[in-house]
Symmetry: C2
Subunit: 359 residues, 2 copies
DNA sequence: CTGAAAGCGCTAACAT
DNA sequence: ATGTTAGCGCTTTCAG
């Protein structure tokens, strides 16, 4: 067995040992051409003897011009990106599809902070395609760097980009459906807890000016959907889709209300994690869900720890979204025309929404 | 702006355009040699004109023999691996350290199922080092494949492997500490909810024979730590560290007990997610925590959704573990001697453990 | 079916 | 400080 310090055998050595040419030896491994079974076996035997485990990927990559690597650009901070089950399920579907084609997924942290130097990985790692999954902004510098390098981009969230496939969900319709559901239950004072509208961790009420500036598409489109049905009595921005931020926001929205009669009777949160935080906040405030306050979310996550409550939520097909992104990547590699694909969402009623309390 | 279909300019073209040799042009980008500021600027200007954004990583990699990629082998299933906050935090620390050295992290799914063909990525993707973070078994076929290829391995969980650095936590001491805490509170009937002992999703009671076969180190060592202090009245294996499995296990352990007087007064779970499931199960059974039953976990996660309860838990330094793994990887690349590093853990008391109820 | 030859894009000796 | 040269390991025409 060769020591790790020893140089590994090369295809040339194997060919030599088997008494064939390198090109023939190459064929024995790739199977991409005619070769007699005997020669093939002879080459493989020689390889076995020399401890050659297959063509060096680096040589293959340079020759073929492809790395077999798909960069997945995750937002601000890896820890945050993966703390969110939404991201995780999308990634899962994506890896599945890419894995079947032998493509590896490279995690690339995007901008860490506003104005921070762009990640060197974005600027110089080998990748055949980059997938932007979380929070691509208009004029995102990462996008500029990548396309400048000639790395094609697939957008999994964010604005349409010329020449790049886009996979999105029907945020606006979904949000509208949730609000319509609440309105049909008799609710008129509905509060909204939003996802982040842009970079810079902000929390607090959203006014029309701020709303007009929203650059992150999920929040932007879901806010629009809400207002397709009615104007929320108050809209509260959170810095991230985390339970604790939903809790904090709901505590503001439900707890500080004087006089009590003005308190919202329903809360629509832009994510299930935020909604779950709101449910817990309601419990902590001594409010019954849904008798005193109805709460609906967005994502359709399975949250066993919210037991016995089951969130009413706009369910989005997360794995499918990942898979669709994967197919979009394959399409790019195969030279297909970039397309926009919109995945449907639908409201799933749980136990956290009910009729508005009698005035 | 060149179209994506057009071939990108090469260093040779840039050198030509700037009127210098390729090697000089290379120096202008790498900075790894003497070059006059003027020439350098001339080269960069030429590059700008031609839309050359830097050396092609594929060429560089082949030449230098390094891919700049670290493979992170995740257990069975990506979705599962990232649903667990423990994995995520470790990954976060790892990416941070590697990112600072310009190394990218490639996610590699390990065995999907028992007997499934090994992932082609393991067998043939370019990586300078592989990190095994989740559930490496004795004689793990992935490990064999990787070392056979000459890819050095760093173990983040699992058995010691000759020549490979190992980063572990002090599972056994931590578990013992948790049990000692419970015993000091007067508990004698303590039940245990374990992490998976091996492949194959199993759930049910663990007897001595099964325990002897445990191949996954976290469960193995934590079980040993428990028994350093006392023998649990019952030990229940789960198929994965998920809230729902903790819930199911605790429902068995606490609910089915006839006569009631035999019911365990405390539960130690091998993970916080399992423990959280146990807390919820206790609530669902109408048991007060900690008055009727004390519950302790392992990991030291922040679980805001368990509010108002705060888990008593053996806290492990997850980010630090990831960082230590990162440094171990750098060590391997720098030719350092492989070492074993054991990180300390410590018990953090929350609100879920209290004195044993009076008989 | 097999072999010879060219070259993917780059870096690192070595020579100047 | 710059240029010349020689590959890194492989795949892929193109001949035979």
């Amino acid at each position: 067995m060769p020591r790790s310090t020893a140089s590994r055998p090369t295809l040339a050595k194997v060919a030599d040992h088997a008494g064939v040419s390198v090109s023939t030896a190459s064929l024995a491994f790739s199977g991409a051409g005619p070769i007699s079974p005997e020669t093939r076996e002879r080459v493989l035997a020689a390889a076995r003897e020399l401890g050659y485990t297959g063509p060096n990927p680096l040589g293959r990559q340079l020759r073929s011009g492809r790395s077999g690597i798909v960069g997945v650009v995750i937002g601000d901070n890896p820890g945050r990106a993966f703390r969110d089950p939404v991201s995780v399920q999308v990634l899962d579907g994506l890896m599945q599809v890419l894995g079947e084609r032998g493509l590896g997924v490279l995690l690339v942290p995007g901008l860490r902070r506003e104005g921070a130097p762009r990640d060197p990985l974005i600027a110089s790692t080998a990748m055949d395609v980059a997938v932007l999954v979380w929070g691509a902004l208009t004029d995102d510098p990462n996008v500029a760097t990548l396309t400048g390098r000639g790395v094609p981009v697939v957008i999994g969230e964010g604005h349409r980009l010329d020449g790049a496939p886009l996979v999105r969900i029907d945020d606006r319709t979904g949000a509208a459906e949730a609000i319509r559901h609440l309105r049909d239950l008799g609710h008129t004072r509905i509060a909204e807890i939003t996802l982040p509208l842009g970079r810079g961790e902000r929390s607090g009420p959203v006014d029309d000016a701020r709303r007009a500036l929203a650059d992150l598409t999920p929040a932007r489109h879901r806010m629009a959907g809400v207002r397709d049905v009615l104007e929320p009595v108050v809209s509260w921005e959170t810095p991230a889709s985390l339970v604790e931020h939903g809790h904090a926001a709901a505590t503001e929205l439900l707890g500080q209300w004087v006089p009590n009669a003005q308190r919202p009777t329903a809360v629509f949160a832009h994510s299930d994690l935020l909604a779950a935080g709101a449910v817990i906040a309601a419990r902590d405030l001594g409010l019954r869900v849904p008798e005193d306050v109805s709460i609906a979310g967005f994502d359709g996550l399975d949250l066993p720890w919210l037991s016995p409550d089951v969130l009413t939520s706009v369910s989005q097909p997360l794995r499918e979204k990942g898979e669709a992104l994967g197919h979009a990547v394959l399409g790019v590699l195969d030279g297909a025309e970039p397309a926009v694909q919109t995945l449907p969402v639908h409201l799933v009623r749980g136990t956290t929404t009910g009729p508005a309390p009698a005035a």
